[in-house]
Point group: C2
Chain length 494, copies 2
Amino acid sequence: MDAAEFRRRGKEMVDFVADYQENIEHRRVYPDVEPGYLRSMIPSEAPLEPESYEDVLRDVDRVIMPGVTHWLSPHFYAYYANSTSFPSILADLLSSGIGTIGFTWAANPACSELETVMLDWLGKMLQLPEDFLSETQGQGGGVIQGTASEATLMALLSARLKTVKCVQESDPQRSEADIISKLIAYTSEEAHSSVEKASIIGGVVIRMVPTDEHFSVRAETLEKMVAEDKATGYIPFFFCATLGTTPCCAFDKIDELGPICNAENIWMHIDAAYAGCAFICPEFRPLLNGVEFADSFSINPNKFLLVGFDCSAMWVKKSADLTRAFQMDPEYLKHEHQGSGWCNHLHQPYSTHKIHWGIPMARRFRSLKLWFVFRMYGLRGLQAFIRKHVELAKTFENLVRGDNNFEICAEVVMGLVCFRLKGSDELNKALLKQITRTGKIYLVPCKLRGRFVLRFVVCGRTTELRHIQEAWKHITELSSELLQNLFDHEGKEN
Amino acid sequence: MDAAEFRRRGKEMVDFVADYQENIEHRRVYPDVEPGYLRSMIPSEAPLEPESYEDVLRDVDRVIMPGVTHWLSPHFYAYYANSTSFPSILADLLSSGIGTIGFTWAANPACSELETVMLDWLGKMLQLPEDFLSETQGQGGGVIQGTASEATLMALLSARLKTVKCVQESDPQRSEADIISKLIAYTSEEAHSSVEKASIIGGVVIRMVPTDEHFSVRAETLEKMVAEDKATGYIPFFFCATLGTTPCCAFDKIDELGPICNAENIWMHIDAAYAGCAFICPEFRPLLNGVEFADSFSINPNKFLLVGFDCSAMWVKKSADLTRAFQMDPEYLKHEHQGSGWCNHLHQPYSTHKIHWGIPMARRFRSLKLWFVFRMYGLRGLQAFIRKHVELAKTFENLVRGDNNFEICAEVVMGLVCFRLKGSDELNKALLKQITRTGKIYLVPCKLRGRFVLRFVVCGRTTELRHIQEAWKHITELSSELLQNLFDHEGKEN
């Protein structure tokens, strides 16, 4: 395919994407396919000779689309969103088209530098303490990770190294392996599974901290566990707080947890993947009070800020904590601007290259997405988007509360409503099964205090009041049928 | 931006990309900017109100382009390539436009399934043993990781868990921490720094294995080290072989190393990020002989198969080794197709979802890039692309060999030529500095046996004979100047 054909096919693809998104609500949001559906629809090996582009595009419609879960549909209420937008797609196309890979500064100066400045922009939108910004020429700054899982892992690994060094300072004979075997991490029992995964990768013990009636970790609970563990010879070193848990969007009390972590030399990382985006609205910002105690903090603009996946923003107070663990300088990555000369001059030792800030070395030019979206929406536009989603969630909450068959299972703070039919888990599982099989809307469950609960997350950029109302109507129709069947069944049994 | 405006702007962006690539060779390949150049060119915070798209695009030209290292330029001869192509860019646009995120099967069935089948296609193109394919309904299969670094890390972590379990089977009292403290990994002294990084993350000791005169790890060297380490109580558990090292594209002798690893219960991972792509050509496939002894294998189609970054293909013989370390099943990820019922039925327990196959949980729809590229080029088209690059490298090698001032520093097997001016490291550093400052071509150095060497990698999809000849002419002009200055200087001193 030469540039001339790319011009033609590219424009067709732009129309394809626009058509897709404009008509997406008429598609069945959850696909009607069985596992293994695809293999038999395409050849078992690659073609020897080139095929025509028409054939490929025809197969997108024939093979791919029937098996897609339509995340951008207004009928999609599952997980948390892929909060993309047209400016984000354009930025991503530009990134693919330029095709540069960022790792050292020299590999793509614009990529390293725009990323650093965009994380400052976003940090200011969130009113992060200056310690986390790189423009203040301190030790802090931001980086784009692929996912929140990677941000959590990087934080845990950095905390591990920092603690090992610290312990060895006072006890130089003690081996790294011995220290690591005594390290203990903490996170909420409601935290995302990636925190536990990070602890497994890091080879450290993790304890799940019980939450209060609002599903929040409280200071006294953590304090007690830390004291217990210290008494038995463990070394508490890492606490991952969650602002906006995956099951029910609960918020740990970081303003009371932070001082404990600081006093105990425990690295506090805050995973605010979804909810953190909403802190650009002043009315939500108080939930972030206490971030000044944190060592690292991350949010996923791809969940709630109109930026397409993948884009997880992470800030640290001391970038050296993050980078020194993995500082390796093979010859093929050296370049003349990495010396200390200019670094000291500009007071930006951390902004030269992002290679040591994450698990992978290389990176796409993802900051373009932030730049395009921030500029095309403006802070006010992004705030309006968040507020609209929260308002729609409140509407759904009120619909649920107005129906005596249902109950709300957790406080509705942002775009997530946790609800269930009053009754057994089996009844609710049956309802979700019907919802999934019908395929008109898509949502996933969670467990809260052992009970099976349905999660309804406003996800779509184009979700409007009428979609919420339709979704509720659909849910109540299915539940009425279920309840009627149950009633009939019980009637027969009696 | 609504769909109508996206149609217009998207088509403009397609033209922007086409224009960029058509005219890229007239750009200075290495940018003429100083670190910190960008910050002062844009505001210090995000705008409150939306800006116009024209302003954003104007700033792409004004702010971004002057700071870009043009990886797609035919004058780019650094690192290894981002080997993208127009079909790959189209597939990526489709992926952005659909906006689904893959993790569980249910999150996007098409994403999970196409990935599994594309890895089978590619595995067959490489003539991998059937153990590595998923269609054979055995225990093996493939997955797309973001980078080779992640593939290596996943392999090392899986090997770590497997060995811990194995040791504990015969010695149940022994703690995981104690076992991990005795684990020892091996890789070539020429291996990529990401292998050492993986060992640091995994908290295990790594030893660098010396290479022979071809920069290859040989069986007897590894065998000796393993014996030594076992004698002092260490547990050898992981060997990362490299096919196509980063400095000089050397090949470890996996056919003689594999049997040792198998005999010693050492997990053999093969990192063939760049060179592995060329194994789709029968004339290069013998270098992969011995892969049958490996536990895992990875190549980066984004380095040499016309697929844009990021796309690292990884295969394992026993997928359970990879997944059981990280198997976590929170309620919000459960779906009705993950039970053993259908899995047993289809004999595809590993193909349901890719969530436990990597560090991040979520993934872009990257297999579309493979599908588009394989079909639009066909196997023959991809082979022709690889052969052309190898031929151009041979041409460059001959030019170097024809000039008595220069020497070739390693065997030229694929698209990389390692060369230097006969003389001191300082002389060669001065030459590279001139090349970088002039900015007409871009290459990076490496160290071979302690000597400073220049790496010339044929990277561009549009690189032709004339570019190679121009590059050589440019290099010899700069070196003549240097040598003349040196001669004049020495003349003065005498």
